[in-house]
Amino acid sequence: MIRVQTKDFDVGRELSSLTEHNVSIGGIVTFVGTVRGNAEGNDVGAMTLEHYPGMTHKELEKIENTARERWNLAGSLIIHRHGRLKPGDRIVLVITASAHRRDAFEACEFLVDWLKTKAPFWKLEETSDGTRWVASRATDDAASSRWTE
């Protein structure tokens, strides 16, 4: 399941609704990405996430489908927020549930790596030096390419 929204999410509630009544599940892995209060030495006052509405949902669904083909998952969920966020705010939630923990761990990490390199979102940081568009990280590309080797 994919959701793209401005409002916050409740991790406990999402976990419950994805996994309850499914007794084939043995392990659930959750990733929550949050806004850090500093970046490259500058304090970050806020951040605005812009996205490409027509493409975002489709791209996230493709990534989720790829994970579900590669790993044996009983459930998965991606929620990605956009709009203006403050340090400490949640940005993204990824949940993977499986009979066995290894599938859940690998699929969750895969989803996070891929959405960081494929999902059309861009971060504009507000620091004491002004605003700047966050540059993509070579480490993210490397993390994503791990899964195609």
Binding site: V92, A119, W122
Partner: protein, 83 residues
């Protein structure tokens, strides 16, 4: 043809979306960019370093040599930084 700009490409061109009619023969992303650069100084600046520009045609990732035609939606944006 609809052209969309995101993040700093939107800021440099000053436009989030424009409807354009490039000349006949503009049948690849690369040719479209060459033509768009002539539209304003902002456009020229936005496309000055194609290493940091990504493109999608009809909401699917594409490349410089990808084909385009009238009626397509072509979006330009920097490498993504979500998550």
């Amino acid at each position: 043809m609809e052209v969309l700009y995101f993040a700093w490409l939107r800021e440099r061109t000053g436009i989030s979306q424009e409807t354009v009619q490039p000349p006949d023969g503009t049948d690849t992303v690369e040719k479209l960019i060459t033509w768009l650069k002539g539209r304003s100084a902002g456009h020229a600046e936005a496309f000055s370093d194609l290493d940091v520009v990504r493109v999608a045609v009809n909401e699917e990732y594409a490349k410089l040599d990808s084909p385009i035609s009238a009626g397509d939606e072509v979006a330009f944006f920097p490498p993504v930084t979500g998550g």
